[in-house]
Structures are given as structure tokens and as C-alpha cells.
Symmetry: C2
Subunit: 467 residues, 2 copies
């Protein structure tokens, strides 16, 4: 899966950057995305009077590398990165202390085309790893429109960026929780605050009723067509320069997406997407998986967001002093793997290797010949390497490895130029629920000529792939 993601990133002209997993706390601190969150939650230690930490994402190291090497890098600089990141937090379900991210960013381009490209690439990447169209959607919005709503509501002053900064932070995070909390609770958080089921009180943004209504109408601005949504947003930000700019940018992404065939089944405008991080400055995007799976308790659930990103034109400036526009995406690999596995669960393919069993220790070279032949035909396979005395253990091993086929050759078969092929998938089906007739018509074990080995193995593998 990772290599398929990389292939798509490469196809789009991004080059891989491998950077250190360890950064100085100082360098990370300069880029900490959320200035209102304390510099904690990272694994850090002191080494020769310098505080070091494991990276908590791939964006901060990109900013550090770009700042350090910008004179040698191409401009724009297009890199992708893949690797583990670490958070020093209590782990929970779907929340790990070490997880994989797969990022792509374009640094040095202010063009909205760069943002469109990230959205289309995200769509291609999800399809490349086997997520069907209509099983996902890339949602797009623009932070400038939210700022426009804030401006016309008296919560944002383009001439004084610090004005009501704290309130706007609360609004941002409240909208970001819409999925989880629902509209009513988000409204409460925009107003006086909210008491959760445990009785804990979360302070609200203390907006007036009119302000709350405006922000909520922004969230609910999705119309029955993309064009209608843009029109609704245009209406809502009337009078705000920045809001107007946001609508124009969104229109440009809409236009490019329509022309390139991404609207609306792959990419779609969704005003409720704002992304929680404070550093985004323009387009924001999020990929959601829309298919349902059964969780361990048997109830249906959707996986939701597996990737997100946006434009962050001011982040690198914190280090270089110069404005450097940038936009990018981060795919949460572990969530994606979990989703794919859950989807595959109902319809599990035996993806293990073909096992060549050992009937006779003097025939090891023949067994090796067989796996060589299978591997040359690109079929995963191995000779059983445990103690071969107990044949039952060999079949148990094949079962544990989720193996589709066991190959059995004794001296008798060898002298006749045949091999016995045991179809383990069919065998397990038959032993569970076949009638006697089925059993007879579909023997799970059969002798095949040695020269037909590959074609017979492929027959079974192909049957398994198409249920």
C-alpha cells in the first residue's frame, strides 16, 4: 500500500525526502502548529545540553529542512515523505503513540492550481490502493471564507489580527468537532459553552445569538449542487474582502475539478470542513471514507477522515522571516490500513504464501525447484522449514499463514512426474458445509502434472480472487 501511495506521489512530480526522526525541541517549537497548545505531547530528552525530540508530524521537519537548504532546493519545492511520527499521549482505540504518515507538500507556490492538484492526487492515491469511487470523498473548503463570516459577524478585523483571536480559536475547534458532537452541541460551544455527559463544562466562544446563527449557516451552506454551495457562501460573506477572496479561490478549485472530471463524485465542496489546526490560511481539504464496516461489537460504523491538509502560507515564515506559500496533505496510514482491513474482513482473501510441504528430507532439492518455479511466476511461496516429522503440523502452519494451497510431493509422486495440490480454501469450505455431491465434484486435493503446476496454481488463485 505504501509503495502504491509513493508511486502516485512520484507520478505527480513529488520527490521523496528522508529526514531525521529526531529534531531539536527548539526547531520543533518554532513550528508547533497550535500556538495555544503547550509544547508537550512529544518524546523529548536532553543530549549534550540540547533538548532533542522525536518528530510529531512531517510538516515541522519539512519547514526546518526548507529553511536550512532553501538556496539549494528547486523553487517551487515539491517533496513527499513517509515514516513514523510520535505523540507522547495516552494511547487509545485508533490512537497510537507511534503512527505512520505519508505527506506531500508544494512549498513556494501561491497558485491555487497547487491546491487543486493535491485534491486530485489524494483522490488518485485512494483509488490506487483499492478504495472504489463512491467509497470516499475529498471535501474542500477555504479558511478565508470562515474569516469572511467572522468579519461580517464582527469577530475578525483584517487590520488587527489579534482581535478576538481566542474566540475564533474556540469557533474553529467547535466546528471541527461537528461530526462527533452534532450541530446542537457545536451551537452551544459557539455560545455560552457546554456540559458533557460526564458533567464537565467546556467554555464557549460567547458569541451573540445572531453571530451563532451566522456561523451555523456557514456550516450548513452546502447546496444541492456545487455551484449552489458557492453561491450560498458568496451571499454569506458579502462585504468581506477576505471572504470574497476565499470564494474566488474555491470557485477556481471547482472549475479545475469540473474540467478534469473530479467533481462531484470524487472532490466536493463542504463548508463544514475547517480542520482544527490554527496555521491554515486558505484552501483546506479532508478525505473521508464513506463505506460502512462492522466494528468488533458488530455495529455499523464509517471510518471518516483518513487524510487532511491545506494551505499554510505563514508557517515557514516563522523560521525564515520571509513569506513562503505552501500547501500539502497528510495521509494517516494506520487509519487507512485499519479501514481497508475492516472492509476486507467479510471477504477475506487467503493472502499467505503457497506452502510446499516436506514429505521426504532427501527431496529438498525438488522442493526448492518447485518454489523457484512458483516465485519466477510471481507466486508467493515457501518450503516448510519447521520439523517435518508431523505432517499435521505442516498443514496447521499453512492454515496459520492463511495459505491458499499446499503442495505435496512424495517419492511416489516424484517418480510419476506429478504433484498433489491441496486447495486449502475449498477444503475448509467443504469441511464446513458441502454436500457429498459437492465434495465429489470438487475434490479439494488433486494430482496435477508437474509441467502444469503454475497454470493449476494460478487457476485456484484466480478463483479465490473473484468470489
Amino acid at each position: 500500500m505504501l509503495s502504491k501511495l509513493c508511486d502516485i506521489y512520484e507520478l505527480y512530480g513529488f520527490s521523496r525526502l528522508e529526514s531525521s526522526a529526531i529534531e531539536t525541541v527548539d526547531a520543533l517549537g518554532k513550528f508547533l502548529p497550535d500556538t495555544d497548545r503547550p509544547n508537550e505531547g512529544v518524546f523529548a530528552w536532553e543530549e549534550d545540553d540540547t533538548w532533542l525530540a522525536l518528530r510529531y508530524d512531517l510538516t515541522a521537519p519539512l519547514a526546518r529542512v526548507y529553511a536550512q537548504f532553501r538556496n539549494e532546493l528547486s523553487n517551487p519545492y515539491r517533496r513527499y515523505a513517509m515514516g513514523p511520527v510520535w505523540r507522547n499521549e495516552k494511547p487509545g482505540i485508533g490512537r497510537y503513540r507511534q503512527f505512520y504518515q505519508c505527506d506531500a507538500d508544494t512549498v513556494g507556490s501561491a497558485s491555487i492550481v497547487a491546491d487543486f492538484e493535491i485534491c486530485s492526487m489524494l483522490s488518485e492515491a485512494l483509488e490506487a490502493i483499492g478504495i472504489a469511487r463512491n467509497d470516499y470523498i475529498v471535501k474542500v473548503n477555504n479558511r478565508k471564507i470562515l474569516n469572511g463570516i467572522m468579519e461580517v459577524s464582527g469577530l475578525f478585523d483584517p487590520m488587527n489580527l489579534d482581535y478576538k483571536l481566542k474566540e475564533r480559536g474556540i469557533v474553529l475547534r467547535a466546528i471541527d468537532k461537528l461530526d462527533r458532537l452534532g450541530a446542537e452541541n457545536v451551537s452551544a460551544l459557539l455560545g455560552k459553552g457546554r456540559k458533557d455527559v460526564s458533567g464537565d463544562f467546556t467554555e464557549g466562544a460567547n458569541l451573540s445569538n445572531e453571530q451563532v446563527t451566522r456561523v451555523m449557516s456557514f456550516i450548513n451552506a452546502k447546496g444541492n449542487s456545487e455551484e449552489k454551495t458557492v453561491q450560498n457562501l458568496e451571499e454569506l460573506v458579502k462585504g468581506s474582502f477576505v471572504g470574497d477572496e476565499g470564494v474566488r479561490e474555491l470557485s477556481q478549485i471547482l472549475e479545475l475539478s469540473e474540467a478534469q472530471g473530479y467533481m462531484s463524485d470524487r472532490v466536493s465542496i463542504d463548508p463544514s470542513i475547517v480542520r482544527g489546526l490554527g496555521y491554515y490560511t486558505g484552501p483546506v481539504y479532508e478525505a473521508e471514507l464513506t463505506f460502512e464496516v462492522f466494528d468488533s461489537s458488530g455495529s455499523k460504523q464509517t471510518f471518516g477522515s483518513v487524510a487532511g491538509g491545506g494551505r499554510y502560507d505563514n508557517l515557514i515564515k516563522r523560521f525564515t522571516g520571509q513569506e513562503v506559500p505552501a500547501t500539502g496533505i497528510s495521509i494517516g496510514v494506520d487509519r487507512l490500513v485499519a479501514a481497508l482491513n475492516a472492509k476486507r474482513e467479510n471477504n477475506r482473501e487467503p493472502t499467505g504464501p503457497v506452502i510446499v510441504t516436506v514429505m521426504d528430507k532427501d527431496m529438498l532439492n525438488l522442493y526448492q525447484n518447485i518454489v523457484s518455479e512458483l516465485r519466477s511466476a510471481n507466486i508467493k511461496s515457501e518450503v516448510y522449514l519447521g520439523n517435518p516429522k508431523n505432517f499435521g503440523n505442516q498443514l496447521k502452519y499453512a492454515d496459520k499463514r492463511n495459505s491458499p494451497i499446499a503442495i505435496i510431493v512424495g517419492s511416489d509422486e516424484a517418480s510419476k512426474g506429478i504433484v498433489q495440490m491441496k486447495d486449502l480454501v475449498l477444503g475448509s469450505k467443504i469441511s464446513k458445509n458441502a454436500t457429498l455431491e459437492e465434495w465429489k465434484s470438487q475434490p479439494a486435493q488433486k494430482a496435477v502434472k508437474r509441467e502444469n503446476l503454475i497454470s493449476e496454481v494460478n487457476k485456484i488463485l484466480n478463483r479465490i480472487k473473484e468470489p
Copy 2:
């Protein structure tokens, strides 16, 4: 390259294991490969009263995972792993504090077939990533033979494993340095010791002259055929049970390798290979690159070892208490990448994306159509995303990205249904050293019909690939 290595490992029936980069110092300590090296050289810190450290290799985490989950894992357990490891040492040329390893191990099989398989897989893996046959060799030896030599030399007592342990450690590390120090210096280290050019004295193993001669004759036991080498070794360990066993194991690998077509151009017996780590118990192997490259000072050098491994039947026992046979290989990815790059250097391919330049901002959809078409044909490509005003900057960008081709389309070309294709490789050759005739016969820029875009781009890409 990494995905090609993984493909081969999968083909051989290994399954990927992703484990934590952070381990407890305690767990790492139990597996520290060299008991005579202090537990240092790792990045470690204290977290809630527990000392944590970044893994320094992928074998110790495997042992920890196997010990922890052995009841749930298949037996034998065949896993591969790929990822960064960390050493807290002074970095130097070719010596990094963070580097990538790509390991495959079979745990729970005492069969020599498992060792043969690792050697053949290593050979297939190197060829899969583009190292030609005869540009590498997988060298095999067996620790038991070295122990046999030690036994007949009075340096090893199978009934008292601690006897002369320190001396044997010195012998092991001295032989491991043969490549770097040469035979004379290794002899000195086996005897009284050695003063290096800086004047520092390294203590020797203090063997007698006769003992030194025996050990050196082991190192030099390679004959003019594989069979002759085995015969020489058999001769040298006569009288040692363990030595005899080592020779039998080596013969078995020889037999399998010959039958499967790996001898002697891909896998070869080399008695001078012992591997430095103390934990190996049987077969040891090392992959060496044999081609020469020019280093930055212009002098020829060979890259030497890029992978190594062997059988370590006692390592996991330290944790589980039970004997668990295991064998495996570790590929040093960074050295391999450096070697491949150095080899490619003389004959550098432009591996960057095709750049579609921006002549007219109103034609962005057309430019996007072109890259869509190129990507669908699996050709890396991108639209230039910087400020398009200065066309020279667009070509400079293409040059910096090592791009093979620039596509140029203005409104004139668009109306005629053509695109201009600039062959950047040919262009740079022509501008350097072409005659006027060549210039005329091979124009570096030409107009092609829009419908022939893919075939024309592929023509250039194919020409570049075959110099």
C-alpha cells in the same frame, strides 16, 4: 528500491512486521548483541520511571516481539521489517546516526535450508534492485568451523564455553577487520597486538605462533573450487566435532546452491567471512558489491559489504529461557543507495518529471489535461506551479528537477492542435559539444501533434534509458 526489496521478501513467504521504534532499555539490554560492549551508543531517556531507547537494530525488537507473542505466531515465524534504526555515535563518512535497515528472519527453524534460502533471497533481492550478476557476491561461511579451528588449536573447549572467551572475541574481531587491515595486521592482532599509524596500541589475543598459523590458514582456506574450499576446511578442523558439523552444514548450503544454480557466481564460500557480532552460532553470510566506483576525490573504490547476517540459535533464549533457533539477514539500505547512486553517477539518467510550462494563465485546464494524459500513461509529470511570468525560471526549474522534457503550449500551438517538446537532455548535450550538422539533424525542440504526445514523450524517455 525499498518496495522492490519488500516484493522479493514477500515472494519468499515473509510477512511484514511493523514494530515500535521505541523499546525499553531493559528489553534492548537483554538482547544487546555484544555482551562485551557496554550498553551505550543508543539514544535513551527516562519516561515515568522507565528508561526508553530508540532501537539500534531490527533484531532485538524481533526477539522482544517473538518472546511476547510466540503463542499467537506461526511456527516457524517468518517476518521482514524495514525502517530506521539509531546509533548515538559520532557520525562520519558512511556512518549515520539514523539509517535504514531491511531485515528478513526465520525464527523457529533449525533447518539449514532456511540459511540457504536467505542467501538465495539476498541474491535475488540485489538483482531485483538493479545490481547485475557479477557486480555482487554473497559470501558464506560457518561459525562452527571457526570454533573447530579454535578447538584443535586449544582455544575452545565445548565442555567449558567460557574458556578463553576473551581471546576468542579478539580473534573474531581481528578476522572481521581483514578487509581493512590486511593479513599482516590481523596476524599481529592474533599474536601480541598491534600499534596503528597514530601510535595507539591494540592488545592482541596472545596466541602462540602455531595457533596464529592455524587461524590464518583458516582465513586463507579458499581453494580454486567450492569443493576444494570445503575439503581444505575439513582438513583443518579434523578432530573437532563442532568443526566437522560446521563443514557438513556448509556442504549442505553448497549442495543446495549448486542444485538451484546459485554457485559460484552468486553465492560462494569464503572462509574469511566471520561477521563481528558475538551471537552467531552457525552459517554466516555477507553480500559484497564488487564493482568499482570513483569517489569524490576521483580514486577508485569498491563498496564492500551492504548486507550481512547469519544463524543465532541462542539469542532469543536469553529472553524466553527456551532454545529458539533463528536465522536472518539485514540489508544496510543507505550504503546500498549510495552504491547505486555512485554507479549511476557516470551515466546519470534524468529521472525528474516532465514539466508542462505555463505560457498563458488562461490555459490552465489544457495544461492539466496534458499532465493527466501523461500520468495515465505512467509518466511522471507536473504543471509548473511557480510564478510563470519569467519563462527562463521555468526552464531553470526543469533543469534543477533533472527533468527530461519540457512541454510548451501557447495559444498559437493550442489552436493548431500541437505542442512544442523541448528535449532537455539533447538540448544540454548540443549546447555543450554538438557540431552544426548534428544540431540541424537533431533539433532539441520540435512541434508534435497533440494526439502523438505520449508516443513522442516515450520515444525520448526510451532513448535516454538506453545510452
